[in-house]
Amino acid sequence: MSRDPLVVGHVVGDVLDSFTKSASLRVLYNNKELTNGSELKPSAVVHEPRVEIGGRDMRTLYTLVMVDPDAPSPSNPTKREHLHWLVTDIPETTNSSFGNEIVGYESPRPTAGIHRFVFVLFRQEVRQTIYAPGWRQNFNTRDFAALYNLGPPVAAMYFNCQRENGCGGRRYQPVSGWT
């Protein structure tokens, strides 16, 4: 019975397979470090975060994936996973701004329910070319890693996010005009 938040929150299972953390990952939104499993408002995650990869060897490159496994809603995740961001060739000790942004950052805007947004870090063995998928939805992180021989993830983090004013429940009706 693992107490790892990634397991308890079913990130391991829905998005990833079990792995051992072997890299240092820090995600900072507005200069504030993200706590795994915490909840953020959409207004706080509008812009891309600063993702810092700790370590010593600048020659090691990493790929970062950000997905939403609860698209369009956690009870009905037909579009699992929705790809929000894809950055490759990030050198160790630096941050995401030093990598290649293959798929641009899309601000999380959950409409129904409380979504998880997962950051997954892979260690690249070589500098490789990764192609952007044709569309963002129904992305599969496992398949993606297998396709590019990225191996198991080396680090992962996630946060929860729901509609700005709450009430993304069953009776959610999109309201035009005021929010």
């Binding site: 938040p5 990634l6 929150g9 499993g37 915490s38 929860n160």
Partner: protein, 292 residues
């Protein structure tokens, strides 16, 4: 389960109306069955089981069908089936809604004995409520006041549920007797308890605020079941979310405490090292800089 059961009842009732003829023949039967039905709920008062309730209701339904009331209702045979169906529909809705409502009473065939038109009894309720039958039936009966009466009943019932059953029955019986003579009525004792919408339409919408009109037997229950499953999953997700965050915080606290201890220790060691290594005080020293 309830909705399908109720619809069966309503179907049975319609059939019975078409088939049964005399009210008198069943009169004595009514009394006996009513007494038996009355006794059964009290015996099961401590047990809230669906099966016994259904039996009781079936008995009551039969009683109602056999009463002279239906006999009287026969006067307008043509609109009757539609009328009954309409009523059944109303009642089915009330029944289903009451299933999730506060308290109900099963109407006793008691009142049915006295030539009073009895609508199908309200949906089955906790056995303690069963004793309040007859008054409710009368309440429901009041034609246009049916909706208001229903809501009054609900309210009155919720108030009276805590009262002792025996006394209430008597009070009800008295009211019923009085009301029976006066045609369509709304029991004055209940009128002040009306809270919900007074119109029948309002009442039904009030009852079914969470659900659309049931489309048929079994579908309402199935939808409810699915909804329950979804709710369970959502609750499980919510618990997982909470637990995951708590775990993360605990891990972080442990990590931070460890780091803090380590850093403090390091600080102490460094201080000691510094003290040991700096014997020379920075003091004024003499130096000669004069040219001579």
């Amino acid at each position: 389960m309830w909705s399908s059961g109720l619809d069966n009842h309503s179907n049975n009732k319609t059939n019975n109306i078409d088939n049964g003829n005399s009210g008198h023949g069943g009169g004595s039967r009514i009394i006996s069955s009513s007494s038996s039905s009355r006794s059964s709920p009290s015996s099961t008062s401590s047990i809230l089981l669906r099966t016994p309730r259904r039996r009781t209701m079936e008995e009551v339904w039969k009683d109602i069908n056999l009463t002279s009331l239906h006999h009287e209702r026969r006067f307008a045979p043509l609109p009757e089936p539609h009328h009954h169906h309409h009523h059944h529909h109303h009642r089915a809705m009330i029944l289903q809604d009451f299933l999730s409502g506060p308290c109900f009473t099963v109407s006793r065939a008691n009142a049915a004995v006295e030539d009073i038109p009895l609508p199908p009894p309200p949906p089955l309720l906790p056995p303690t409520a069963l004793s309040l039958s007859s008054g409710r039936e009368l309440q429901y009966l009041g034609g246009g006041g049916g909706g208001g009466g229903g809501s009054a009943l609900m309210n009155g019932h919720s108030r009276s549920s805590s009262n002792s059953n025996g006394s209430r029955v008597h009070g009800q019986a008295n009211n019923n007797d009085n009301n029976a003579r006066s045609g369509p009525f709304m029991s004055p004792s209940f009128s002040d308890a009306v809270i919900g919408p007074s119109s029948p339409a309002g009442f039904f919408s009030f009852c079914s605020k969470k659900r659309v009109m049931p489309e048929g037997p079994g579908i309402g229950g199935d939808r409810r079941y699915k909804r329950m499953i979804k709710n369970r999953e959502s609750a499980a997700r919510s618990r997982a979310r909470k637990q995951a965050y708590t775990n993360e915080l605990e891990l972080e606290v442990a990590h931070l405490l460890e780091e803090n201890a380590k850093l403090k220790k390091q600080l102490e060691e460094l201080r000691l090292a510094m003290d040991a290594q700096l014997p020379n005080r920075i003091a004024l020293k003499r130096s000669s800089s004069a040219p001579f």
